[in-house]
Symmetry: C2
Subunit: 464 residues, 2 copies
Amino acid sequence: MHDTLALLRVSYHSARALSSRRIVFPLFSLSRFSPPILDKARARCYHTSHQGKGVLTDSLALLFGGDPMLTPNLSYANLKESYLFRRIAQKTEAYLAAHPGTHLYRMGIGDVSLPLVPAVIEALHRAVEDQSRQSSFHGYMPECGAPFLREAVAEHYRRRGVMLAADEVFVSSGASDELGDLLDLFDRKNRALIMEPAYPAYVDANIMAGREIIHLSSGPDNHFLPLPNETTDADLVYLCSPNNPTGAAYDREQLTRWVQWANEHQALILFDAAYEAFIEEDLPHSIFEIPGASTCAIEICSLSKTAGFTGTRLGYTVISKDLERCGLSLNAMWVRNRTTKTNGISYILQRGGAAVFTEEGQRQVHDNIRVYKENARVLMKALDEAGIRYWGGRNAPYIWMQCPDGMGSWAFFDRLLNEIQVVGTPGEGFGACGVDFFRFSTFGDPADTREAAGRLKSLLKKTE
Amino acid sequence: MHDTLALLRVSYHSARALSSRRIVFPLFSLSRFSPPILDKARARCYHTSHQGKGVLTDSLALLFGGDPMLTPNLSYANLKESYLFRRIAQKTEAYLAAHPGTHLYRMGIGDVSLPLVPAVIEALHRAVEDQSRQSSFHGYMPECGAPFLREAVAEHYRRRGVMLAADEVFVSSGASDELGDLLDLFDRKNRALIMEPAYPAYVDANIMAGREIIHLSSGPDNHFLPLPNETTDADLVYLCSPNNPTGAAYDREQLTRWVQWANEHQALILFDAAYEAFIEEDLPHSIFEIPGASTCAIEICSLSKTAGFTGTRLGYTVISKDLERCGLSLNAMWVRNRTTKTNGISYILQRGGAAVFTEEGQRQVHDNIRVYKENARVLMKALDEAGIRYWGGRNAPYIWMQCPDGMGSWAFFDRLLNEIQVVGTPGEGFGACGVDFFRFSTFGDPADTREAAGRLKSLLKKTE
């Protein structure tokens, strides 16, 4: 038993010395050991691998490959525990337990508060009725999306000057689902560059795939809008604009630099446009407004924030037929993925989604967006009056403020909760470079937002 | 240019000679070549790789790894074109073009024809109403499923004697989606054993992941119910019972053999139970009815056929908290996957799904299933009277018949279409061992099914 472990350890260290990227163990036979010993060796080996930061994971399957034994995706062992929202919930619950009946002003999680608009509700009811009668019943839907919705989205882009064919639009269950699924199109050896602070799932989904991650920090110096330079070196690039959590949004010139860089280096941009409907200045809503983007970018969009679909689920993805790498069309690959791994998106939800793109639907969802924008205005005014530096709010539903007095983001969280009963999101949860910042969501109740803004201003002025 | 290609070719052949499993190229520098030449070399290399049956794909990223350049998942190049349903559609359209106005009896694709039952329709309407009002509006749902639905499914299992906790049930968008997504939990070096004939997506999803596939053929000798023996050697095993396409269903003793084999070998069974609601004999509906299954199986189920949700989309997956491999809990891994890669399933659809598990819902969906079972009875009677051997029909919505006169399945397809205007599915589409067989779906219109059965009987009797 101990010999086995020692052997594993020695092999591990000598192999590591030879290569930091991929280690192949000498295939010594383990079959002479009894199953319980093998199990322990495996557990230990897994432990070593975990501490070895994942470099060993590829080798385990080879090591034990002779035996039929399922190996889980050991990259999952490299994930860090996701504490952010759980820790917020724990702290909030503890406060409420100590102060029963207190009203909290919740401006943390980016969930919407307004119900679905009437045009969508009506379309959903009609679609449910369709499913109740044999004559109008819909069974399996086309895997890449119903033609009526693909065309409605393409037309929505065309109205903004982006020429798309309907079969370049793929209907999805939402941006989160799609950002997870799309990674199947890329080799695991690609290196993923993630602009940070970032939505934590970008990082975790790539850790699950065993990809090397390059963190591209941003901060006040570059207005949270990092750009590529001569040393930028990555295969897959995550850009989110308008950004979650910072609310910063790229302009045309800045996005053009990314598109040019990606085309030059044959890299690929995953462009998360989930917040585009909140843009009010003259900024690109879609990366496809930038010449050259069709050969280097995939755009992921969602109705979650645009039309309050967070709990209803619907989104869309644009992959141009011009996008190729190594002679493979990414559009054709995604068709193949969807036809193999899904049976399409619910007919009922697609009818609801299509209503968003009608004239009436657009008017109604923009009425809702105006409510959230008024929340943003109220909060920005409070921060302005308190002399606090912040980003976002104007073209995004998030406000990203600098914590006062060099306070860390968790300390500021505690202070807001304890002193003014306001709950926000500590910037540290979005990556190390967020440690001095704090995120407010503007999706909350307007009366709560006004009260929270007033309390925030008083607190911050007191701090001065 | 030609030197580069020659060098690639020589390296490829010499590397292949050394190992059939994994090839690492000598890392000669390609940086002295200009980009267009590199592009051509890549294209050629991709071609070679394709013909080399995928063994080269892993090496490409290493070969070009120095350059920032996105490498797509080259395993997609190893997929065969999926001709089955497209070829059926082409032949059918051609027939209709030549015989305008002809009524075709469609008994091919396994899509349901009856609308959603009243209990589900009512629940869907109520849920849409909930989304129309701020007081009852639901935003983000818990990623693993709404507690009300997880509990309803767990209770459904408990009524059949399978003790499950609600957090061992995961709500999904359906079995297809889940069978694709679940593969992320497993290392790519696992070998997947697929009982055939099979649902083509089992094979394709594993090709996409670059997994070695072991085809376990079945036939009349084992009643299309293959069992493990002393030579069975695989990590991941796909079982579908009642089976699509053969309609064969494992009994307790047979499933016990699979469970024992999997536990002994630490393999993992993916058990597709999508057709369990059609079982009428005393056979297991769930693999968890077999002692020991909780430590070696994941069950994937769907409301598509049970309750006509093919176009509405909803399913569920059961992963026991007892299921571990290499010290990792598969249940915990799937929680982590869902919380990273999804934002949950639509509130509206989950309410509709929960209605299926009420007393009223169960009664109504079984009324629909009885309609399909009557279709099966009509078809089986016709085949009995024509003296044709077939499987399924009794515990499954599919009937799998032996083609008459040693006719191949595509020839039989043509004959049915041309002579009696009946459309079915050639067995060859489900794997090579299906070449002598033909699948009928019993989900069609009852009047059409009766007419088709009569025509089929006459044709087959004529053949005698």
